[in-house]
Point group: C2
Chain length 220, copies 2
DNA sequence: CTTGACATTCGAACTAGTTAGTACATTTTA
DNA sequence: TAAAATGTACTAACTAGTTCGAATGTCAAG
């Protein structure tokens, strides 16, 4: 009979999970772990709350899945860069701008990381997948610094993790603290001109730091 | 008679409020706005939940009070600095190290700001007190840059707000992202040697940036 | 020094709304 | 026919905020 209103349901577990994750990412990143509402996520999904628990077990399970998915997405970006052929300064600038652009265009990711920090990275600790990340960036930076020192472009023997932190900090902060910073200084950080200025600023700052001699720029 | 168990109650509204705020600061900064529990705060207080609502009206009211109190505390720090007498480079270094030390020793404040950003700075917007802050830092930086350009110490005409952001970003990030960064790179950011290294690193980076010529260090 | 008005404090039970998670039935797929 | 996938309605627990009924401290005016 035409009793079944022929909604033509097709089982598509992958799509269902992906759909849930996409909506959950948005919900968690705008409300935090405790602030997010499972019902709110369910509503905006093609599917139901039932399926959230079917696939992810609990609210925390869902959160962890969201977190892992976000991290997995970056991984690919950096790997694609072909920096070994570029001269050190250019290679570094390219890497920095990639990081900058990534954070700028992935505010959800940035917010999730902020949230995870509020929870002392407790969930991240439980995830193998996430921890083994970002090792490649460090190796890249290490290589660039070594080449730069060898050919005289750079003069400072900096720790690659420290340098990565200097870069990350600025790129991340621009996005993570956009609202408080913007409110206090009445400045819209998403304006195109501002973005461009900051993009070159962080690159210039890191590069001039590496060019300046070991004892600090004071001794120049 | 000894009916009243002679608990010797003293009315001390200021102390009561301060007590509540101190406990609430801790609760909010470790659990976020939604994650914090009013009952949990009440329990760890000398007083009761009743008094929390008596003085602060609601959970949000309490949160806002906590936020304002945290901001008010920094205000004093920077004002005390006497930078006008120092040569530009030294003045800047002192300012940077003050910011660094502040964030390092006020993780609660840093976390609250992170939380506030997750909420799009919605509460901060409603607080006059907070917005009129931090103007002084910008003026200080502006003055230092101007003096440095005049006497030839610096060569780059940088925007003082941008420079403040470069400084803040690093100092803030070290604390705000301590857990995720530490987890991924297996590095303890609260080690004394690391702190010292980072302290001079951010100062060196900013100073060498200002010393490098306008066109970017590429044109050197 | 008294008095009265008002602010502060106590405490504990209570409620109304919310929310994470589940039971049970049904449909699809293979 | 069995396992995977889905839908609906429910529940058990939690939690912000309230209510009631006091007792006690403070301070200015008389």
């Amino acid at each position: 009979m035409a009793e079944r209103q022929g909604n033509g349901r097709k089982n598509d577990p992958q799509r269902t999970q992906e759909d849930i994750l996409a909506v959950a990412t948005e919900e968690f990143s705008t409300h935090g772990l405790a602030g997010a509402r499972v019902d709110a996520i369910a509503e905006r999904t093609r599917t139901s709350k039932r399926m959230i628990y079917y696939y992810f077990g609990s609210k925390e399970g869902l959160y962890l899945a969201v977190l892992e998915r976000s991290y997995r997405r970056i991984r690919t970006l950096e790997a694609d860069l072909e920096l070994a052929n570029l001269p050190p300064e250019m290679a570094l600038r390219t890497l920095i701008e990639t990081t900058f652009d990534h954070d700028e265009s992935n505010p959800d990711f940035v917010r999730l990381v902020s949230i995870e920090n509020i929870h002392h990275a407790a969930h991240m600790l439980r995830s193998e997948a996430i921890r083994e990340l970002n090792v490649s960036v460090i190796q890249m930076i290490e290589g660039i610094i070594a080449r730069g020192l060898a050919d005289g472009t750079f003069r400072r023997k900096a720790d690659p993790i420290d340098v990565h932190m200097l870069i990350s900090a600025f790129c991340f902060f621009r996005v993570s603290n956009r609202y408080t910073f913007g409110t206090i200084f009445r400045r819209d950080l998403s304006e195109k001109a501002t973005i461009e200025r900051h993009r070159s600023m962080i690159a210039d700052a890191v590069i001039s730091y590496l060019k300046s001699p070991e004892g600090g720029p004071a001794s120049t």
